[in-house]
Each structure stands twice: as C-alpha cells, then as structure tokens.
C-alpha cells in the first residue's frame, strides 16, 4: 500500500515534469480538452437553465391548484372521446363554491373561473397584438402567485360589478407605456376602454410558456359582456368563443389526491351525470403538465450533451495521441525503469496519470473560462436561461478525469506490456 503511494507520488512528479518540459505540446493538447469542457459545461448550464425555466413557468400554475378543463393536459390517442364534451362554463365556479361551502372539512378552498382570448391593446400610438386577455374574478389572486409591481389587482366589488379595469403584465406595460406609469391610464381593448389598476412584477419568459408578462386580466363580468361570442363587436371567427376553465385552490397540497376525488364528485353533480356515465371533464394539476414536458426537457438535454460531448471526444483523441507519442519517445526510459524494478502496474499508472493530469488541467482551465463565459452571457442576455452550479463543477472535473483515464488507457497499456529487453535497446 505504502509502495503504491510512493509510486503514485513519483508518477505525479513525472507527469508535472513532462508537462513542463513539453510546454507547447501539452498546451495544444490540453486546448482540445479545454474546448470540450467549455462546450459541455456551457451546455450543462443551459440544460440546468432550461430546467429552472420550466419550473419557473410551471410555478405560475401553482402546485396546489386543480384545473377543470375540457381536454386533459396530456397527449391523448382517443381525441374523439374528448371533442364532443361539453365546454366548461365559467358559471360552474359559483356552483362549485356553493357545494364547497356546504361541505364540512372540504379539501377545497375556492373555485375561480377564467376565460381567455387573444386581443390587441392600444394606448395612444402604441399597440400590442395578440395579448392573452384573461377574464376572471378577484379570487384569482388566491389561486395564482401574482405580484403587483405597481397598483393592485381588482377587488371583489369591482369584479362583481364588471368594472372596466385591467391588470397588465410587465411586457405589456413596457410596450404601451415606455416612459410613464400606466396606473390610472385607460387602454383600449377591443374598442373598450379599461383603466389600468395594476402592473405585474416581471416574471421572465421562457420558450413562450406561461408568463404573466404578456397577459392582461380583467373582471370576468366585463369579459363576458364585451368579448364573448354574443358580443356584436367581435367579428373574428377564430378564437371568438375563448377558452374557459375553472381553477380550484386546494387546502392541503399533500392531500391532492383526496382533493381531486372530491372535486370530481362535485363536478359530476354540477354536470348532472348519472353513476354509469363517464366523466365528461378533466381535472389537471401542475404535475400532469410537468410529466408531459419532462420528456421534451430530457430530449433537449440529451441531444445537447451528446453533441457537445463529441467535441470533448475529439479532445480525448488528442490526449490519446499525445500519450502514444510520449510512450514511443520514452521507450528507452520505460526499459530503464523496468530494469530498475518498475512493474507493469507502475508503468501503467505513470502514463495514466500523465494523461489524466493533462485532462484535469484542461478541464480546470475550461471550467474557469466557461464560468466567465456564463457570467458574460448572463450579463448580455439576462433572459437566456443559464445556471452555473457546484454540481456542474464536480461533474466536469469527474468528466475530465474519466476522459484522461479512458484516452490514456490504450497507450499506457502498451507501455506497460513493453518487453524490457526490446525497450532498453530502443534508440
């Protein structure tokens, strides 16, 4: 054991001396690994960032909210079974709330109706098209983590009266009011004036997934009055009806399953289904959405890491090549060492450590460069999801060492099997 440690120490010394005396060669070879590690690390940060972006977008949905919809939030093979389902009506929310109120120890707190349409919004000379316009009640703040940067959400009375008020997302505010506060100003939605009462804090967008930044919310009563299909001012055929759903806040997210069962029962009552009839609605939660997005996320991660991994592979080939050269030009030295009592294992170790040291050095430099690149990218494009982590540092070091071991193995093995007589005679 002791002997092994001494041999290890000796091998490190040799590796260091070898790198120092072949500076140019070592630097160029390490460059391959440096580039490989930068590529893999940046990809790793991007994958990390994508994951965090997904989670952030997902958190908008809330992990303690159930969504009653016509279509389930997962891909279905039998779409014809869902197509003819009755639409979800916003009025269900009231009925559900009444049942919740009548149920002792209900797992549900409150049901909130929402309807949505894409609309353009104007203020002065500025106009934003295709804004996700949401009609809801004041209870919306219960189901959603909404943060007002300025102003407030509309209250219960305003909601019930159908006041022409609007809460706008960060990006919408930015586009319509580049240089002034939007609070108190009136914007034009679908030809109707709405007074801005609140602006949401910036949430950040990611891959066009849910973000409050490009949405506006108005009281549902006003929404139905002006935007529903019955509205004369709505001439567009597509999307004219709008999508409606009912979101229900759960009391305890650890008892989501019970809550879901309870809500299913309530919805069956609301829909007036007979016991033998199947559910004609879907109840979804954040998790269901996540599980459909996870494969996408994983595919991106896998493909990205595979492609960048190729560049690291090229670096590894460089290391392997240089180690072969090193073995060749030091054949006589290997012979001498064997004559002095070096075992096969000793020689194997020596060259493995040499290639590993080179990779580790390259990996370390690559990591430092990647860190600064990340920092730079983060500064230049704040919305680009990039995330540097300790796990990534450890992972890239492990990858460096593995690269060194794998690429050094063939040459080191060759060296260890050299016949001492032949090696000593080699010139």
């Amino acid at each position: 054991m002791k002997r092994f440690l001494y041999e290890l120490e000796e091998s490190w010394k040799i590796a260091a001396a070898q790198m120092r005396s072949n500076m140019t060669r070592s630097t160029l070879t390490a460059l391959g690994v440096i580039i490989g590690i930068i590529a893999v690390t940046l990809m790793g940060t991007a994958v990390n960032g994508i994951g965090i972006g997904f989670d952030k977008s997902m958190s908008v949905l809330g992990d303690d909210v159930l969504y009653v919809t016509q279509w389930p939030w997962k891909p279905v093979d039998d779409w014809w079974n869902y197509r003819d389902r009755k639409k979800i009506q916003t009025e269900y929310a009231e009925k559900v709330n009444r049942i919740i109120a009548a149920t002792p120890n209900s797992n549900l707190i409150v049901a909130v109706p929402t309807s949505s349409l894409m609309r353009s919004i104007k203020y002065g000379g500025n106009e934003v098209d295709n804004v996700f316009t949401l009609g809801t009640t004041s209870d919306f703040t219960v189901t959603s983590t909404i943060d007002c940067k300025e102003g407030r959400f509309f209250n219960e009375i305003e909601s019930r009266e159908g006041a022409q008020l609007v809460v706008i997302g960060y990006d919408v505010a930015d586009a319509l009011f580049p240089s002034e506060s939007p609070i108190g100003k009136s914007v034009l939605i679908n030809g109707q004036l709405f007074k801005v009462v609140g602006v949401n804090a910036r949430q950040g967008t990611f891959l066009g997934l849910f973000s409050w930044d490009s949405m506006v919310a108005i009281p549902l009563t006003a929404f139905n009055k002006y935007f529903s299909s019955k509205s004369a001012s709505d001439s567009r055929a597509d999307g004219a009806k709008g999508e409606s759903d009912v979101r229900v806040k759960v009391r305890d997210k650890k008892r989501l399953v019970e809550a879901k069962d309870e809500l299913t029962g309530i919805m069956r009552r609301v829909r007036g289904l007979q016991p033998e009839q199947r559910d004609d609605f879907s109840i979804n939660e954040q998790q269901a959405f996540k599980s459909t997005l996870d494969p996408v996320k994983n595919t991106i991660a896998f493909a990205g890491l595979f492609i960048t991994g190729l560049s690291l592979f090229v670096g590894a080939i460089g290391i392997m090549n240089i180690t072969f050269v090193s073995v060749k030009e030091r054949t006589k030295e290997i012979g001498t060492r064997k004559a002095l009592g070096a075992r096969r294992r000793t020689i194997l170790l020596q060259f493995l450590i040499e290639s590993t040291a080179l990779c580790l050095l390259g990996g370390f430099i690559g990591l430092i460069l990647a860190y600064f690149l990340c920092f730079g990218i983060g500064k230049a494009f704040p919305s680009f999801p990039i995330q540097f982590s300790i796990g990534l540092v450890v992972a890239s070091m492990v990858v460096s060492v593995l690269t060194g071991l794998v690429s050094g193995f063939a040459p080191a093995w060759t060296a260890s099997r050299l016949d001492p007589v032949t090696a000593l005679r080699y010139e």
Binding site: K2, E7, S21, T336, R337, A339, G341, R343, R345
Partner: protein, 248 residues
C-alpha cells in the same frame, strides 16, 4: 581450468544448460545453445565474446530481463524460469544493480532522484530513501553533486550516478554492460577503479565487455562463442584472450 582462486561463498547464480531461441521473421535464431554457469558471492566475472556470440542474451538472462527457452536458472535458490513479469521486476529491483553503457539516467531528474528510483519501486519511505541515496552518491565520490542534473555532469560522473543507483538497494550482483564503452580511457579507468573498490568491499560484479583491458580487471573470465561457453578460467590470461579479441 584452474580452480585455485575460485571463491567458496554461497552460489548466487546457478545456470544449467540454458538455451534461448528467438524467432526472427521465418528464422529461428538460437542465441544460447546450452550454457551452464555458477557464480558465487563476491566474484568478479567478465563475460567476453565477439558480437553475435550470445553475450547480450546471456546478460539479459542473468539480469532477469528475459527468461530462458529451456534449462534451469536459479537466482539465490529461486527458480527464475517460472517467474511472471512482476516477480522478475521484484528480483531486478532488489537483487540486481544494472550499469549500462549509455548510463540510462532520467534526464529531467537530478542525481539524487535518479538514485532514489529503485528505492521508490521497493516501497521505501522518503526519509530513508534520501538518506540511502545520499550515502550511495557519497560512496561513488559525488557527495557534492547530488542536486545536479545529468546534463550538468561529465560522462564519468554520470556513470558514477548510475553505479550509485545500481548499489543503492544492496543487490546481490552488479551487472555492468560495457560500463566504459562511452567514456574516454582515463575516465574508463576511474570507473574500473571504482568497480574494483566495490568488489573489494564484498560486492559481486559481472562485467560484460569486449575490451581486453577492461576484462583484465576481473578475477574470472568466460568466453562465449556461438551461444556456448568456449572458455571459463580464473583471472585473465592475455594469450588466450588475445585470440578472442582478435576475432572481435
């Protein structure tokens, strides 16, 4: 053959009828055709012979760098023929001190590190290593050069470092292959004086050479020809060796 001056110490090397065949392309080269040899402790033996006589092959066998095709080889009573690579490495490390014609020092390591190398492979701790390597370098008269690298030393000094390296593990034999081959005659004589000194101190020395003047330092000489021992005699008989040298 004279037996008068033969030492009577324990047998270190006991070779009986060993052969070594090499395959060179289609041909089989029979480098050794049946060599029998015994070497006792504190002998000073010169192996002579023209090139192609099997001298190098015999040296590789004696140095446990190679194993014989057939025959018996015992080193300190242990059968070398049955040993695997690692056991041979251990024998080379502990029992044999090599001195090469081309010195074979590690260019980037100083004298001390070069001499320490066999001790590292023997698993000796750093303090003992340094102490023993320093002592060995003192013994060969290089106590003031221990931190010099090979390229800062003269040829004679390099060979002294190599001899210190051969000595440092207290081997049973010192195997010197043309130790003066790369040195001028004056430096060569200094190296031979050093080997003589080591012999006087009780070391066993095997000298492989084709130079008569160098072989003349040994107490026993064997002549190889065509893979066989042609002659094995005590001391150095100039007339006999003249003949061998003429054929070289």
């Amino acid at each position: 053959m004279s037996h008068v001056t033969r030492p009577t110490g324990p047998i270190v090397i006991d070779i009986e009828n060993i052969t070594k065949d090499y395959v060179m392309g289609e041909e089989i080269v029979r480098a050794l055709r049946g060599v029998t040899l015994q070497i006792r402790r504190n002998e000073y033996l010169a192996v002579m012979g023209p090139s192609g006589s099997g001298k190098s092959t015999l040296m590789n066998m004696l140095g446990c760098l190679d194993t014989p095709t057939s025959g018996r080889y015992e080193f300190n009573g242990r059968n070398v023929k049955e040993m695997d690579d690692d056991e041979l490495a251990a024998i080379r490390n502990r029992e044999i001190g090599f001195v090469f014609q081309t010195f074979n020092l590690l260019a980037r390591a100083n004298a001390l590190r070069n001499v320490e190398l066999p001790l590292i492979y023997a698993g000796i701790d750093p303090e003992t290593r340094q102490e023993r390597a320093t002592r060995a370098l003192n013994d060969v008269g290089l106590g003031d050069r221990i931190h010099h690298k090979p390229n800062e030393l003269s040829g004679g000094q390099r060979q002294r470092v190599a001899i210190a390296r051969a000595l440092v593990n207290n081997p049973s034999i010192i195997l010197a292959d043309e130790p003066t081959g790369n040195l001028d005659s004056k430096t060569g004589e200094e190296i031979m004086a050093l080997l003589e000194h080591l012999y006087q101190r009780g070391n066993t020395i095997i000298l492989v050479t084709h130079e008569r003047d160098i072989a003349a330092h040994a107490r026993r000489t064997i002549h190889l020809r065509d893979g066989l021992i042609e002659m094995d005699h005590a001391g150095f008989i100039p007339e006999l060796d003249l003949e061998t040298a003429a054929t070289t």
